[in-house]
């Protein structure tokens, strides 16, 4: 809400600057989004009087003026035409700095314009940033500028200096969206009394005006007042400025009165043209099926039975609390008006505003909750303003309010207050005095008191609500501070910390081999996941997605990782290696959480895109990238032991380059997807469940006896895999074979098209004694022989 510092002082004599006011309001729970200084940078612009006006001898469009600024008479060349001799103008003399058209600042210099000297500039409203448009230069009104004010600051003469505070009001405080509401808060905090406003009593009750409410649950109060003999007049500048600074604009004196009341008191009111409605049958009711109304914004809407309207016997007049109707609203020919001041159910107003996509200053306040307790004051202020802005002959009306509405109250118990706020310094009586300034009604009861909540609050029902007011008024900074207590941590929820520490562990492992962690949003495009080979229909869908490509929750991490690899490639990023841990979602199935509405599971996934430039390095690893990926993820996954899970469909992978894990799957991306994503190079992905545990490693005594290393080379058919050979060695179950490593795999012309060479290094060691070469060779020969025998049909040979 926009609050003018100057107009705020009409409510309360605040003794401090606009910044001080901003601070006091913030301490009360009303922070701001900034304080704007109006009239800033106009200090050097002074009142001048045009003494002579002649055409520039060299340019028809320019005028030569002599301008009297009191101390001297200045020659000014001016491009505008709208001044005559004797007018008062806003003059920026040499050296003055003004905001300029774009607000970036303009410093006046002596200039020669087509041979004529100009010692300053007559400013327009645009150049002074007083308005967005202007026609010619600013001519100062003669009731403010005269011969005695020559040379005085224009900002003082026009009273331009003001500060606009952009106040944030929380949604529970509909009452505070007004000058009066905020002034009441400041009054309570500072002890400065509120000023009274000009009001006029209305005649009440009266005949001929009969407001009714169909259902008191929909509207708790409705006051209607007939004002006869109003006039259409220009709104005084004071109020025009008030509206402009509060974020509205002046429309007509009658409409302006409704807006002034809205900003000033925070209670929206509406004026009907009384000659276009029937005051005897005016009613707040639900709309009926088939009804429609043309609104002030010329939009005609079809009404819903949940909509609340103001109607008379002839039909719907306006959309209650949101917007007036076009037919019944006031115009320049209006002579008699019917004032409506009512209080509507916030839930209905909010639903209707949402349903029809409407929102107004009025609905904004009703949605946040207002009370019907002081509708008289609202009407009386409206009449007071009408007196000032329009004049009228008679004002009379009546109101109906829910008689069952009770003002809530609560017993004040200091011990309970201190149990939550800590020890308080002021006495109960001092606290009550502060609360009274917020309009609490305090009834002594025994040694304590019953606190009646303020009439304007809709959000109070507990002693805690009072505690907040006490804390606000005392200042949160003045509450007792206590030292940090340390307790044992206690949670009764399912303990997921082992899973999260496993996730941290595995992330750190990936980081150590050069992967960086990515965090993606949980949204996914179901179509994209289908292309990845996932079955559809199992995804969790959003009712109101922000984008059609974010319409579902992801079922895999791979989808986002692949898209991100593509984005990185498009940005020519190097060494694209991403790892992610996070949740995936499914409509049904096991979930991490108890009482979980859908299935949520944590996974870890990675993508590695090897691009041509990645291999363009000195000392580049010449091995096939597949083996680099395989080694990397095996070293990571070797650190943990994860549960059995299926993560990604095998169709995602190159059929010959899949790495199966019990806990997931990895491998090289299928060329079909490489093409789909327009990726070049080699792309590897993997995804695993995060259910499981860290592997427990035990420390051991290092071997005490020396080992013997022996190698063996075979010539084998190309179809024979390394794994088949390794399995064969393992089957021989030699007690002293410590490990086998394939270390040379090659194909060449010399070996023929059907054959390849495989070389293995083997280490033999006896844990209990020093192994002799003979024993090692014996074991080695046995293993080699077994291999020769096993693969005899493959025509395997030693090399």
């Amino acid at each position: 809400m926009k609050l003018s510092y100057k107009y705020f002082k009409e409510q309360l004599d605040f003794d401090g600057s606009a910044q001080d006011l901003a601070r006091v309001l913030a301490d009360l729970g009303f922070p701001n989004d900034g304080v704007t200084h109006q009239g800033e940078g106009l200090d050097q612009v002074v009142v001048g009087k045009v003494l002579t006006k002649n055409k520039h001898p060299q340019a028809d469009r320019l005028n030569l003026l002599t301008v009297d600024v009191g101390s001297e008479q200045l020659p000014i060349v001016c491009g505008a035409q709208n001044m005559v001799v004797g007018d008062f103008v806003a003059l920026a003399p040499i050296g003055a700095k003004i905001p300029g058209k774009d607000g970036s600042g303009l410093v006046m210099k002596e200039a020669k314009i087509r041979g004529e000297t100009s010692k300053g500039m007559c400013c327009s409203e645009v150049e002074l940033r007083l308005s967005d448009e202007s026609d010619g230069i600013l001519l100062l009104p003669k009731d403010k500028a005269n011969d005695s004010t020559l040379g005085k600051k224009v900002s003082d003469i026009l009273n331009l200096q003001d500060w606009i505070l952009d106040i944030d009001v929380t949604p529970n405080r509909g009452d505070a969206l007004s000058y009066r509401g905020l002034a009441r808060e400041v009054s309570a905090k500072t002890g400065v009394k509120l000023k009274s406003l000009a009001t006029l009593k209305w005649k009440n009750p009266t005949s001929g005006i009969n407001p009714t409410i169909e259902n008191l649950k929909d509207a708790s109060g409705f006051a209607a007042c007939l004002v006869q003999g109003v006039n259409s007049k220009p709104t005084p500048e004071f109020w025009q400025n008030f509206l402009q600074k509060s974020g509205a604009r002046s429309i007509s004196n009658l409409v302006d009165v409704t807006n002034i009341v809205l900003f000033e008191l925070g209670h929206p009111i509406h004026f009907f043209d009384a000659d276009k409605v029937d005051p005897a049958t005016i009613q707040v009711r639900r709309a009926k099926a088939g009804e429609s109304v043309k609104l002030l914004n010329d939009q005609t809407i079809k009404l819903d039975p949940e909509d609340l309207v103001i109607a008379d016997s002839s039909g719907v007049l306006s959309l209650a609390g949101i917007m007036g109707g076009a037919e019944s609203s006031v115009s320049s020919t209006t002579r008699n008006i019917l004032i409506e001041a009512a209080c509507f159910n916030p839930v209905l107003i909010r639903a209707t505003a949402k349903r029809h996509g409407l929102s107004s200053e009025s609905s904004h306040r009703f949605e946040r909750g207002l009370t019907p307790f002081r509708l008289d004051e609202v009407i009386e202020r409206a009449i007071g303003l009408l007196k000032e802005l329009s004049g009228f002959e008679t004002a009379a009306g009546t109101k109906v309010i829910d008689r069952h509405l009770e003002k809530k109250s609560i017993l004040y118990e200091r011990a309970k207050v201190e149990a939550k706020l800590g020890k308080l310094a002021p006495t109960d009586e001092e606290i009550f005095e502060m609360l009274r300034r917020l309009d609490y009604e305090i009834q002594p009861k025994g040694s304590t008191a019953v606190l009646g909540f303020p009439w304007y609050r809709t959000d109070m029902s507990h002693l805690e609500d009072v505690m907040e007011d006490i804390a606000r008024l005392l200042g949160y900074e003045n509450l007792a501070k206590v030292p940090l207590k340390s307790f044992e941590s206690v949670s009764t929820l399912k303990d997921l910390s082992p899973m999260h520490s496993l996730s941290d562990k595995i992330l750190n492992e990936f980081i150590s081999i050069g992967f960086s962690e990515a965090i993606h949003m949980s949204f996914a495009d179901e179509k994209w996941e289908k292309k990845l080979g996932l079955t559809t229909g199992e995804s969790v869908a959003l009712q109101n997605p922000i984008h059609s490509e974010k319409s579902h929750l992801r079922r895999t991490l791979a989808g986002g990782l692949l898209e991100r690899a593509q984005l990185n490639a498009n940005h020519s990023e190097d060494e694209i290696r991403l790892v992610e841990v996070g949740p995936v979602f499914k409509k049904t199935g096991a979930s991490l959480y108890d009482e979980s509405p859908v299935s949520e599971e944590f996974r870890v996934g990675c993508v590695w895109l090897v691009q041509a430039q990645d291999k363009k390095r000195l000392w580049s690893n010449k091995a096939d990238a597949f083996y680099e990926f395989k080694g990397a993820i095996q070293s990571v996954l070797g650190q943990v032991s994860l549960e059995r899970a299926e993560t990604l469909p095998t169709s995602l992978f190159h059929p010959n380059r899949i790495l199966n894990f019990t806990s997931g799957i990895a491998g090289e991306l299928h060329p079909r997807l490489m093409k789909l994503l327009d990726l070049s190079g080699r792309c590897f992905i993997g995804e695993w469940t995060l259910q499981g545990a860290e592997r427990k490693f035990k420390y051991e005594q290092p071997p005490q006896f020396p080992s013997i290393d022996l190698d063996v080379s075979f010539l084998v058919p190309k179809t024979l895999s390394v794994q088949e050979m390794l399995d064969c060695f393992k089957k021989s179950s030699s007690q002293i074979l410590e490990w086998v490593r394939p270390y040379d795999l090659y194909e060449s012309k010399d070996l023929g098209t059907q054959k390849k060479s495989m070389t293995f290094a083997m280490r033999y060691r006896d844990p209990a004694k020093t192994l002799t070469m003979e024993e090692a060779k014996q074991a080695h020969d046995k293993i080699v022989e077994a291999a020769m025998k096993t693969f005899a049909k493959d025509q395997i040979a030693l090399r």
């Binding site: 949604p171 909750g369 206590v482 940090l484 207590k485 206690v490 949670s491 922000i546 959480y593 000195l618």
Partner: protein
Amino acid sequence: MVENTIEKLRSLRAEALQKISAAKTSDQLESVRVEYLGKKGKVSEVLAALKDLDADSRKKVGQISNEVKSVLEDGISSTRDQLQQSEMDAELKKDSLDSTAPGITYFRGKIHPIRQVLREAISILELAGLSAAYGPEVEFEDYCFDKLNFKPGHAARDMQATFFVKTDEGAKPLVLRTHTSPVQVRSLLTAAKNNFTLPIRIQAPGRVYRMDDDSTHAPMFHQIEGLAVDTSSTMGDLRAVLDFFFRKFFDQSVKIRFRPSYFPFTEPSAEVDVSCVFCAQKGCRVCKQSGWIEVAGAGMVHPEVFEACGWDPKKVQGWAFGMGVERLAMLKLGVPDLRLFFENRMSFLRGAR
């Protein structure tokens, strides 16, 4: 005879020393050694003649010859060291390795900045006695709003633009949680089922969702929440925990400030500011010249929340707070733009240069 021999040794010494210092290579030096100290060397020859002398003279000449021998050996040895050093230096100068060529690139990965901050925040809050608790991201609307005292149809629901999840007809309405506070509800509900176990002291880190997408709002972000419930916790304890947290997280010199605010699930409620970590409260762009930066929301758990979760609000009390992890990360790690967190460009993730 003795005099002659001694004289001879002395002149051999002078002669040899001169040759030693004149040697230019190890080979030359070696031949000097052979010439004088070798088995058939000149010094040895002189000594061989000693056997014809009497014991006294032998002793005298022997002493001198040992001196000469040791002087020569020392000279040869130190000259040899010098020569070998310069010969090796000359050899190393011929080395062809180009030490300016780049080393083998070793790529380091990095933990995501959000995770870095989450990990740190979690461990500080663990120190303050809050154990990590987790809840689902697809949540019952009831847990996300109603049980937290967001009244149906109340404008407070507009504070958090909400994603709704499609459900079957008649099923409980589901949302993507808009904050981590449903974990408070879940904690209170389970504790109520477990004989109202007290105290509850948890922190709830996690992902949350709001229907905003612009330069300063992402539809998904992270929060970390704290909750303490017992029979004695006050605003004072809450302040103490947050004071501890922010001093540890930013710097010991950081101050915190509470300002009144509104959250449906706390009463009284507060916004929490920290003194500006960029300008030491002198006023800068980040704190908008105010010297303070808003970092968290907090308050005493609302009685309606206790009631909705099956507790008697007269018998328990507690506090809660919540903060945005991205904001903390931007402040602490200097991340200039929220969108960078989710763009996941390698050059961003690998970290500041």
